[in-house]
């Protein structure tokens, strides 16, 4: 059953013109952070969203919880149109979709105790009895692997991993159907990262929550996701069942991305595809295929025609890619 449906989502950020540009009447420009993406998330599944910095993956996540207002396109959660609802009407939907931030230090108010931080969503949605709220916070805190007697402490008394657990407890409080996880483990050390990933998987099995797992670490995404979408410069270039994607990536960008990951095994010597150059500017993205400026198999058609995201043949399950030359 489809829980979240994103259709042709666009988010453009206006670029501030300098006084000089304004005087010269330079045209107003915008950063095309997300430039028309569509995807679905089914109830209880994990969709991994990967890509390098600046590809727009975080903006997609932030648009789902209305931290950004979409420029165009629709997002439907259980049939409710998130993008067009008034702020007031959307507020009641917040129960269903929660968000976990990347930075476990900055995402907790330094002046609020765990009880206050984790209790805030409960209070916002009507649990006004302090005794009841405390009990629920204690329960949530225990669920994420902290001790209930720690709930009167302040964030600075916790380590990074523990703080991320607090952030997860806060997101769990309202029994959401979907949690958007924006690089939830990238700020953590590997040993702590494993703890948090295991916790997330356990919680999903327990509560049947769907995850949108946004990350740049491919191995982590592979570990946690059911399906994976790869973004490049505001577009989805490939989306597939995890096995199909990692077994046989079809898009040259996905192939390069996978081959670039250093693997902690000296026996596995893979041929690397080293891409030339940098990410082009999202203000003036290349015509046609956006990856063409760095693509090892670029042809003349790539500059003229934008390849649509289309299913590839001979794939297990669903597997779509946006390349003229993927078979």
């Amino acid at each position: 059953m489809t829980l979240l449906q994103i259709q042709d989502l666009k988010k453009h950020f206006p670029v501030r013109r300098s006084a000089m540009e304004w005087l010269k009447r330079a045209p107003a420009q915008s950063v095309h952070a997300v430039d028309g993406i569509s995807l679905d998330i089914a109830a209880g599944e994990t969709l991994g969203l990967v890509g390098e910095s600046g590809c727009g993956k975080s903006t997609v996540g932030r648009s789902i919880v209305r931290l950004e207002d979409a420029t165009a396109g629709t997002i439907n959660l259980n049939g409710a149109p998130i993008t067009t609802l008034s702020r007031g009407a959307f507020r009641s939907l917040r129960k269903d979709v929660q968000f976990v931030f990347q930075d476990p230090f900055a995402s907790l108010n330094p002046r609020m105790t765990v009880a206050q931080a984790v209790g805030e969503p409960l209070l916002n949605f009507g649990m006004t009895d302090p005794v009841e709220r405390r009990a629920r916070v204690a329960e949530l805190i225990e669920r994420v692997g902290l001790r209930p007697d720690q709930i009167d402490r302040f964030p600075h008394e916790f380590s990074g991993g523990q703080r991320q657990r607090i952030g997860i407890a806060r997101a769990l409080g309202l029994n959401p159907k979907l949690i958007v996880l924006d690089e939830p483990v990238s700020a953590l050390d590997v040993s702590v990262q494993a703890q948090v990933i295991n916790l997330l998987i356990r919680l999903q099995q327990e509560f049947g929550i769907a995850y949108l797992f946004i990350a740049h670490d491919l191995a982590v995404v592979e570990h946690i996701s059911d399906r994976v979408a790869v973004m490049y410069l505001g577009k989805i270039v490939e989306i597939a069942e995890k096995r199909s994607l990692f077994a046989r990536p079809r898009h040259p960008y996905t192939q390069a991305l996978l081959s670039a990951v250093p693997v902690a095994d000296t026996d596995v010597r893979r041929d690397k595809i080293i891409l030339k150059g940098d990410l082009p500017s999202p203000i003036n993205p290349p015509s046609g295929c956006r990856f063409r400026t760095r693509c090892p198999i670029v042809q003349s058609i790539c500059a003229k025609e934008e390849p649509p995201l289309r299913p590839v043949s001979a794939a297990v399950g669903t597997h779509s890619t946006a390349c003229h030359f993927a078979e």
Binding site: D189, V190, S191, R243, A260, P262, A264, T266
Partner: protein, 339 residues
Amino acid sequence: MALLEIETLSTAFTSRQGEVLAVDRLSLQVERGETLAIVGESGCGKSVTALSTMRLLPEPHGRITGGHIRFEGRDLAGLSEADMRKVRGRDIAMIFQEPMTSLNPALTIQRQIGETVRLHMKLNKSDVRARSLEMLELVQFPEAERRLTQYPHELSGGMRQRVMIAIALACDPKLLIADEPTTALDVTIQAQILEILRDLSARLGMATLLITHDLGVVAEMAARVVVMYAGRMVEQGAVADVLRHPRHPYTVGLLAAVPKLGSSLNEGPRQSLAEIPGTVPLVRSAQTSCAFAPRCPLAVDQCRRELPPAVEVGPSHVSACWRTKDVPAMAAKLREGAL
């Protein structure tokens, strides 16, 4: 004689939490031309080791409290600041994680590279420019000629790191210390930078001390690796030996905690990642027992009482663990998910 020889180095910091011993009697050698990686989690002392070697500890909070750092036989720990300045850049160069903070935002690329060259090589103006260009081409900097006049903020992260490498290598150092050189970069850019570093150290015959938290980067870059935990070396050896046959429980845990690329291609259900319970301890004074014992599944009484010495477990492969004999069995169990 090794190029760099660190012997029982101890480095302490004074912080709000009081005195902290960041490095506790660490010994290691870097041979001429080789790449040695130091790997560990944040707070393990790997960066402090690098800063101690460069004598760049933040004054007055950090200081070397014991041991020797011998570079070509000369003890850097006792060198005057003036003499040390001659060593830095000329003999030993360093690149950092965040290239933006180590570049001066107000100076052009040419000025920044040129400054180092002028300072150490005493070239005239046109030679400086030629040398700068040469360096930028060495790090495969596209359109080097045009971009000499650009400022750091006009460059991408990968390009800035190239400039940093160009500056570092401008005077042909014998040792390059690279402190998490690709951590702030995206994977495709990381691949470019690692390729450049690999190529350069081979071509210039320069030794590299690579500081990283990423075992994958270690596997790709280094010949030997030192694993650090809580300021001490816990395991050391050839990269292939340490990664394939780790002999310290911490190394085993570290390897098992990281998800592997391609894990979904194995048959069977997804295995949960091995967790290392607890967190890294704060070390205040010279350790008298194994710092990893509280988190170690193999820990016995002896581990909590006595400091394990580094013992040879294979050809030039050492591990500082009382139970290193039992580690392979533990690793096997962990692989089966039984631990």
